[in-house]
């Protein structure tokens, strides 16, 4: 017989039924609110604060300032929204990875505007009005992206006309390229650009891989974690075994490198340049470790080994083993920066997925994960991997030393780092949006102050980032009708319903996903804005400039032979006898690329003695001092 018996087909078609009885929606004040898990986050945070305050004597750098959440004052009413797969129809899936936040001066008024990405319900662009105030200009800008499941955003000037354009990735909805007319009005030019394909896209970034002065685009694609059934938000419902997808070769998707052909047209050149990393890629970045001007690429694998590619005049070869023999198994976020001011780019990679194999308490958050999985699930021998964050100290000549534990940068449930000199002392600090939401306990965001290049010290409680505004740790997540619960309902539905009849509102822990560090209110110090999962953002305004006299310089690069944004340029600034080096990659945080000036904290130096710029074009430019501190310095590439 060559036909499946229909009697059997009838039985076989009894697939796993969705828990369709649940409805997601805003909490009704009439329904009891039940927190899951029932964890006393407030007590935990109070205890952690006490412990952290005792460590202040370790700080050799300035820490006596605060971040205060001014979301209400800002006027920003954006709330990120999620799909049911992360709430009322919960399953462990990549839909809970959140979305990005990117910043650029979209209308050329000198103030930096914020683009919030939301999984569902549309993205929002908020215009900076100055003084810490913002206005929603999404509709007039035309960048809402309704009806798609958005993930990341990248601002960059793709046609060198001086206006930041915008690229947004989505899950299976097609990615979108917007052209900016210079006044904050965007046009969807995706079709004519040639950027096609519908994948499970994630992080993306612009860079000039072939140094032709035009910004190319690399798009990370995760892998097939969804099926064909369409859910309530129009999303493809995730597979129940989504996080095992890396074990199935047919579910893989490759990142794509698009070459900018000019005139806003792009072409997929991945195969011809030798770029085919195998993995589940959530994000990546670029740098120039060997100083030859050709940008190298690091793409993360969130379920296996990550990949580092050397660039040989526009052709790529994988050199991971040579540079980074061990990479974090569940790599999620990345930032190249010179943490110790030795003039060499170091690398920080956060590892989220290694933390998902066991629930640990706060006392174990700074330890590497005890990943219990076997090599079949790891997709390689354990010796290939680090099960936690990795901090690669650049020793020169292509040698790196992994120093994450010594540097104190291990954390729990980290998404992607945002780096900036938060106390303007010349040492770049780290902010890591972190935490899971339903059905996990509350997890903190980490703020690590750079203790003069010797160690990073936890300071989120000291600086007021934790606890959150008003001590809030939970938020309404979804409604649950306990009377319709089936016998085999999982704990995260059954336990909130214990002793309950009728409808309840399940409360979930809050958690951030992405962030951007920039001087939001133009007072000279750096502020932090987060994009939180299924809740409103935090607008963390620093009072550093009120607490002490600070010295800083913001450098806006303007390429003329190189791409106009100056992406890929290396800037060395000398002030007060010290030299600071930054690589302009626009990598402002997890799932985000922003168009921001480079911010140099100068410590005690009140002026800058010299600035050197290595442009992607190969032009080397010197801006001699003295240059007064505390201003925005545009540097135009000299032909």
């Amino acid at each position: 017989m060559s036909v499946i018996p229909t009697w059997f087909a009838g039985v076989v078609s009894i697939a796993a039924a969705a828990l369709a009885v649940f409805a997601q929606g805003p909490a009704l004040t009439a329904t009891p609110q039940v927190r899951y898990p029932d964890h006393d986050a407030a007590a935990m945070l109070a205890e952690r604060k006490q412990q952290q305050l005792k460590t202040v004597d370790q700080f050799k750098v300035f820490y006596d300032f605060q971040f205060v959440d001014r979301i209400t004052e800002s006027g920003i009413t954006f709330v990120s929204h999620i799909v049911d797969d992360a709430a009322s129809d919960y399953k462990p899936t990549h839909y809970d990875h959140g979305t990005g936040i990117a910043v650029a001066d979209v209308d050329g008024d000198g103030l930096y505007d914020i683009y919030f990405v939301s999984s569902t319900g549309g993205n929002e662009l908020w215009k900076n009005l100055g003084g810490g105030k913002f206005k929603n200009i999404t509709a007039e800008a035309g960048v809402g992206v309704p009806g798609r499941i958005s993930v990341s955003a990248a601002f960059a000037d793709i046609d060198n006309d001086g206006a930041p354009d915008l690229f947004v990735t989505t899950v299976r909805g097609g990615n979108i390229l917007f052209h900016n007319d210079g006044h904050g009005h965007f046009t969807d030019i995706t079709i004519e650009s040639g950027i096609d394909g519908k994948a499970h896209s994630s992080g993306a970034f612009f860079f000039d891989y072939d140094r032709d002065g035009l910004l190319d685009l690399l798009v990370c694609n995760v892998g097939q974690y969804t099926g064909e059934h369409i859910g309530a938000q129009g999303q493809h419902v995730a597979y129940p075994d989504a996080f095992f997808g890396h074990m199935f070769p047919e579910r893989y998707e490759f990142p794509v490198l698009y070459k900018n052909l000019g005139h806003n047209r792009y072409r997929d050149v991945s195969a011809e340049v030798g770029f085919r990393p195998v993995g589940w890629c959530g994000d990546g970045s670029f740098t120039d470790l060997n100083g030859d001007g050709w940008p190298q690429v690091f793409v993360l694998n969130m379920q296996g080994a990550s990949h580092f590619y050397e660039n040989h005049a526009g052709k790529f070869t994988e050199e991971t083993k040579r540079y980074f023999p061990q990479t974090p198994w569940g790599a999620m976020g990345i930032k190249f920066f010179d943490y110790d001011n030795d003039g060499r780019m170091d690398l920080f990679v956060t590892d989220m997925h290694s933390d998902m194999w066991e629930n640990v308490g706060p006392e174990d958050e700074k330890k590497k994960a005890q990943h219990p999985a076997g090599e079949d699930l790891l997709m390689g021998p354990r010796s290939n991997f680090i099960f936690g964050n990795a901090f690669y100290h650049n020793l020169g000549a292509g040698k790196f030393e992994e120093v994450s534990d010594r540097m104190g940068v291990e954390s729990y449930w980290p998404w992607g780092p945002s780096v900036g000199d938060l106390n303007a002392d010349g040492w770049d600090d780290i902010f890591i949006p972190s935490g899971m939401n339903f059905p996990y306990r509350y997890g903190i965001n980490y703020l690590m102050l750079n203790n003069r290049g010797q160690k990073f010290l936890d300071a989120e409680f000291i600086l007021g980032v934790e606890p959150r505004k008003g001590g809030q740790t939970h938020t309404p997540w979804f409604e649950l009708d306990c009377s319709k619960l089936t016998r085999d309902a999982p704990d995260y539905y059954a336990k909130p319903c214990a002793g309950q009849t009728g409808k309840i509102t399940v409360m979930s822990a809050l958690a951030s996903r992405s962030a951007v560090i920039f001087d939001l209110d133009n007072d000279g110090d750096l502020d932090i804005v987060t994009n939180d999962f299924n809740s409103r953002p935090q607008v963390l305004i620093s009072n550093l400039s009120e607490r002490r006299q600070i010295h800083w310089l913001k450098i806006k690069l303007i390429g003329t032979v190189s791409n106009r944004d100056g992406l890929g340029a290396t800037v060395r600034l000398t002030a007060g006898g010290r030299t600071y080096m930054k690589y302009n990659d626009g990598k402002s945080g997890y799932l985000s690329q922003s168009s921001l000036p480079l911010y140099f904290g100068l410590g005690e130096a009140a002026q800058v003695d010299r600035i050197e710029v290595d442009w992607p074009s190969g032009i080397k430019q010197v801006v001699p001092g003295p240059i007064r501190a505390n201003e925005l310095l545009p540097i135009e590439e000299k032909r």
């Binding site: 017989m1 059997f8 039985v11 009894i14 070769p249 047919e250 893989y252 016998r487």
Partner: protein, 411 residues
Amino acid sequence: MATSVLCACLLLSQAITPEMIDHARAGAEAQEQGRLDDAIREFHKVTELQPASAAGHANLGNAYFLKGDYRASIPELEEALKIKPNLMGTQRTLGVVLLVLGDADRALPHLEMTGAPDLLGVAYYRTGRFGSAIVALEAALEAKPTDPDLLYYFGSATALASKRTHDQLIRIKPETASQNPSPPEPGNSPSADVVSLQKALALKPDDPKLLRAFSRASELASQQTFEKLLQSNPGSARSHQVAAERQAADGHLREARLEYAAVVQLNPYTPDVHLALGKLFAEDGNWPAAIAQYRVECELQPANPEPAYHLGSALLKTGDAAGALEQFAAADKLRPETPRILLALGQAALAANDPTRAEAAWALLIRIDKDGEDAAAAHVRLAALYRQQGRVKEAERESAAYEQMKNRKGR
């Protein structure tokens, strides 16, 4: 050195390469578009590139399954599970394949891993574990209360469980078998009553009161379930099947045949229907028709020894000893050391002029069964065979053994 080579092989065995991904994705796309031969070809390449890829073998096995080539799917699915036992989807698919082919015994452990109550219920039913079948099918019916297949199996399982329990009760306490049982608790559905009684029986399997109550409750549940099936799915294949069984039980063979014919017309692949039809034809002495039906059932359930056994019996009846022997041998391979199969195998072997094989079958039967009725019959047949061959002492030994058995059991 040997260890490091082995480790290296293991490392290589886990690596996913771009080429593998390309073939795997091509296979998935072909499968999605219904081009199953292309899908099979692409998945084959994946397993060639990476023989230790559980996903590769699982995909290949699944593609064969979708194409209906169940025999080809089994080794691939088994290989996938050997590499990675916790592939639940593959466990389920393999369980389904084996169930379809009639090998519920092999299917059961795979289905038990997945916990799917519908498939488990069918597998338990087919392996005679009616109590477990009842519990599983009741759970499945919660999600699909009018599913005709589930109702049929639940009704059948409760009927058979009722009979078996009644027989057990007679053996334990004959005098209680005819007493009225306690009435069911108010508010309980018959199904819930049966399930709770079944669970209680599992703890106290020889409790006469429980046995009596369960027997009555399951008989009632069976009747009500079949009524529900007939009302909720009138004109369906399963409702005709129930009608056929009722007609046959009442001795209305012609009406039963017509009902079975209706089942076949609606769904020719319903398992056991051709077998039942074959038996009806056999009762009528219509051997060619019986044989035809048995052959169809053998095709439908190649891993089920029952159709092969009945086909062998029919062929033997019509003088096709060689054909009968082939069928009994197949049944024996599927279910080795089964007394009645061995008995029949011996008969067919003798009829096919292979007395050595006959002797071996009956001797094995006696070793297994010892005191059973089939063993008794084997002694008699061996005695006759030995007499034919002039092996007098052995003939007398067998006769004596038979007499001993007869005397022990008061025949």
